[in-house]
């Protein structure tokens, strides 16, 4: 059937006068023919007028039966949760779309972290392996809880000297993770240190592990920050002497507000 032929079916479609097979075929055509879809909408509105013209007055018994049936019926949820109005629904959808790529990046890094951690461990002693595997698993679990938190926010920041990072924060969980990729290896005796910015003070929040995955020339992974993110206005990263510092001794290579 040609497209011109299909177009003439708008009337029959609006009146449910097509066979099921033709109706399905035409519904597929509607998805790619906005002018047909518009015409179908108008013709359905028109057909509804014919229906209104046939109105009757239902009996009170009929009304009672309909109302009595309602409590037995489970209502369908909206296609998007908590869609209380269209504008907030669109906003939510937009937000979700925006955070999707970041979420995908974070999830990939999380997988890399777990896989990398386990690979590294294979070269260690059995006891060390067990304890480190448990540690990695614990981190991974905490990280996935954070990434899946409904209020998780994602802030992306470039790292001075190379690499990129995303800071994931959940107020509900009071936790923050530093997800990083392509961080240059530091000369011996130096580490990347994480900080919370709280009330104008930089509070130490842990060190980024300095061991790259086997064969890698850069650091990649995800690190849960030590301490609560509650009351923190931002997250920063500095380069510090091995073992870390109680106060930053250099300008941050990355700083984002959370």
């Amino acid at each position: 059937m040609t497209s011109a032929d299909l177009h003439t079916l708008t009337g029959a479609y609006a009146l449910h006068a097509l066979s099921d097979r033709e109706s399905e075929e035409f519904a597929r055509h509607l998805a790619v023919c906005p002018s047909c879809a518009q015409e179908v909408r108008e013709l359905q509105e028109t057909a509804a007028r014919l229906g209104l013209a046939a109105a009757e007055v239902p009996t009170p018994e009929f009304r009672a039966r309909v109302m009595a049936a309602l409590p037995e019926v489970r209502q369908l949820p909206p296609l998007v949760p908590e869609a209380s109005d269209l504008s907030s629904w669109r906003l939510r959808r937009l937000r979700w779309q925006r955070r999707m790529p970041q979420l995908a990046v974070a999830a990939c890094l999380l997988i890399a972290l777990v896989a990398g951690g386990i690979a590294v461990n294979a070269q260690h002693e059995a006891t060390q392996q067990r304890s480190r595997t448990a540690q990695v698993e614990q981190q991974a679990e905490a990280l996935s809880a954070l990434l899946a938190a409904p209020d998780a926010s994602f802030r992306t920041g470039a790292v001075k000297g190379g690499g990129s990072s995303t800071v994931v924060t959940s107020r509900a969980l009071g936790q923050t993770a530093f997800v990083y990729h392509g961080l240059p290896l530091l000369p011996d005796a130096h580490v990347y240190e994480l900080w919370f910015s709280k009330g104008g003070q930089m509070v130490p929040a842990g060190l980024v592990p300095a061991t790259p995955a086997a064969g890698a020339q850069v650091l990649a992974g995800a690190q849960l920050l030590v301490g609560t993110s509650n009351g923190a206005a931002g997250v920063g990263v500095t380069v510090e002497p091995a073992g870390g510092s109680p106060k930053p001794t250099s300008a941050p290579v990355m700083l984002v507000s959370i």
């Binding site: 009337g11 209104l52 046939a54 309909v66 309602l70 269209l86």
Partner: protein, 195 residues
Amino acid sequence: MHAAARGDRPVAPRPGALETLLDRVSRGDQQAFETVYSAVAGPVLGLVRRLLRDPAQSEEVAQEVLVEVWRSAARFDPDRGSAMSWIMTLAHRRAVDRVRSAQAATDREHRAAVRDHTPAYDEVSEQVERRLEREQVRRCLGSLTELQRESVLLAYYRGCTYQETADLLGAALGTVKTRLRDGLIRLRDCLGVTS
């Protein structure tokens, strides 16, 4: 559509009111549903009865339709037409499905009955004429050509496919398809329907 609220319909929803009510219904608001019921139950039942004729079966299907409105109110999409159109389309679809499943059971007899039933249009037309409360719809139906009007009425109020309509009217399939479309377009323009 709002003019349709005159006469026996107790509630005349303002433009957009039904859409707002459906939003409340989708969140389990029974009071909102009662208002929706007042606005649509009469047209739903009337349309279903026009198609099925049998009063008990009509009430059964009309009840299904109204419960479906309660069940799937959250799935109503205002971008795809008015709430009234959504509900009436649902009612028409359900009634047509019922007509056709009954037909499938007794297809042979049905075909014979349809062929023997020559005064189909007259009967439908008479019923519709008798029942049409809406002066405007009647007037606009009168502005259609005979073949347009017969085709639209057989498809809408009898649930005939365009093949059956062509059969009944002794017209070519392609002609009936075209008449259904240009008949509805003429009705749309006469009624001033916008979407």
